[in-house]
Symmetry: C3
Subunit: 188 residues, 3 copies
């Protein structure tokens, strides 16, 4: 985990929060995605899965990631079977992000797995993993904050900004997002 160690830096003084190895790896990742994937049309799902896996992402069978999706570090990403990550989604995974099988992340959503210690004069970076269950929906341009856990089948409405826990089958909306109703998913 030394590549990801963020402790003891001085971000307020201009110090880097990540090791040189981590930064070199991310340069390689950024260039690779730009050249091999960023411009590819939607149907090339298999190709982009391969590129993500080559950089250490755990990607389930049939998971679909658009070329315009931004991933901070593939090694911190886990996608379940047939998960769908839409166009323009930002997976800001300085900390780990896991998204369960059949979950859908819609266009422009942002999932952020890090924060800063606002009481610390050094403003230290804090990694807080995000876990999204199975068959969830994070709708268009929603925001899932650091440390959030979304239960299976929960829904975050468009532009919702979630900072707490989402119960299974719950529908959440607003900023900050609050519980709106039960999803009421019918049996297949």
């Amino acid at each position: 985990m030394s590549l990801l160690d963020a402790s003891q830096s001085k971000p307020m003084e201009g110090g880097a929060s990540f090791s040189l190895g981590n930064r070199m790896l991310r340069v390689a990742w950024g260039v690779t995605w730009l050249l091999l994937a960023r411009w590819t049309p939607p149907p090339l799902w298999g190709w982009r899965r391969m590129v993500l896996r080559a950089f250490g992402a755990r990607v389930g069978t049939g998971a679909r990631v658009y070329g315009s999706t931004r991933v901070w570090l593939p090694a911190n990403l886990t996608l379940g079977e047939r998960a769908l990550i839409g166009p323009g989604v930002h997976l800001y995974n300085q900390g780990a992000i896991a998204i369960g099988a059949y979950s859908v992340i819609s266009q422009g959503a942002h999932i952020c797995a890090s924060s800063h210690d606002i009481r610390d004069p050094d403003f230290q970076l804090v990694l807080r993993p995000v876990t999204i269950g199975e068959r969830c929906w994070v709708a268009a341009e929603a925001f899932v904050g650091p440390g959030v856990v979304m239960g299976d089948r929960s829904v975050l409405a468009a532009r919702g900004a979630l900072f707490g826990k989402a119960a299974p089958d719950g529908v959440y909306t607003g900023n900050p997002a609050v519980f709106l109703k039960e999803r009421g998913l019918r049996r297949p």
Copy 2:
């Protein structure tokens, strides 16, 4: 309407929500806008109107659309006379979007005319048209959700996220957006 028919797909299984014809048309549209309009400077309003009309948009006299505006499908777009669509606006018109005369959509706003049936195990796409009246203002980075109707001269404040109806002359703010006050427009 067969190009736009979204019923009976299986999005959760990876099935396309739109017909092959629709998808081919959108590829042609995306390439055309990229090559002919995306990079053009603001004053070329007339040229971009022509490109939009060539793909089926109904665009009123003097309507202004920036090159950085994204339109999902021009055939689903109606713009009134002198409507202004700002830089970076996202018109996600899987369903129809109509924007009335003299209305202003500011930078980075997102208008979204589709959703999913969250009670359906197949997570079916649902098209819900958006109608914005005349002399409205959707301010910077606001979000107008599926099925919304904004009455004439209504205002959605910056970053507001509107999911219900906006009364004529009403000013709405917040996420979810709520009525704040009457606009109090002076007589010209």
Copy 3:
């Protein structure tokens, strides 16, 4: 200030809100940033400071601005010592924006220093400067609206949308953003 004079235009009739000189200057600025800075990797902080200063920005020692940051007009920008402007930040400074020493503006945040007079039939542009104090944090994808003043060490949480005043050491969250708690910064 004649370059920035926005009065007496007719934006609803398609009239420009800014003088020809202002618009020419912004074309030069946009092309310059695109060619010289937009694609540069993070460590070239000094180079980007130089480009910003050449166009009139007042940039303190060690201030860091990413290549993907968008600045409307450098002449309207003041950055304090070691301020950090993150990737994808939008400084929409039609009016003046000042950001104090050691403040951090995180990825995708938007600071907007102009609005429109919604009671005016001509929908006149209104310039309203934004002032952010020292050691503040505007977190990921937050929005700071026209005329806002943020006191020293105040915090706007991720996706927060602030339209009023933020007291020193206050933490604000939500849309519209409200006071959540005191920051409780420890002594260094």
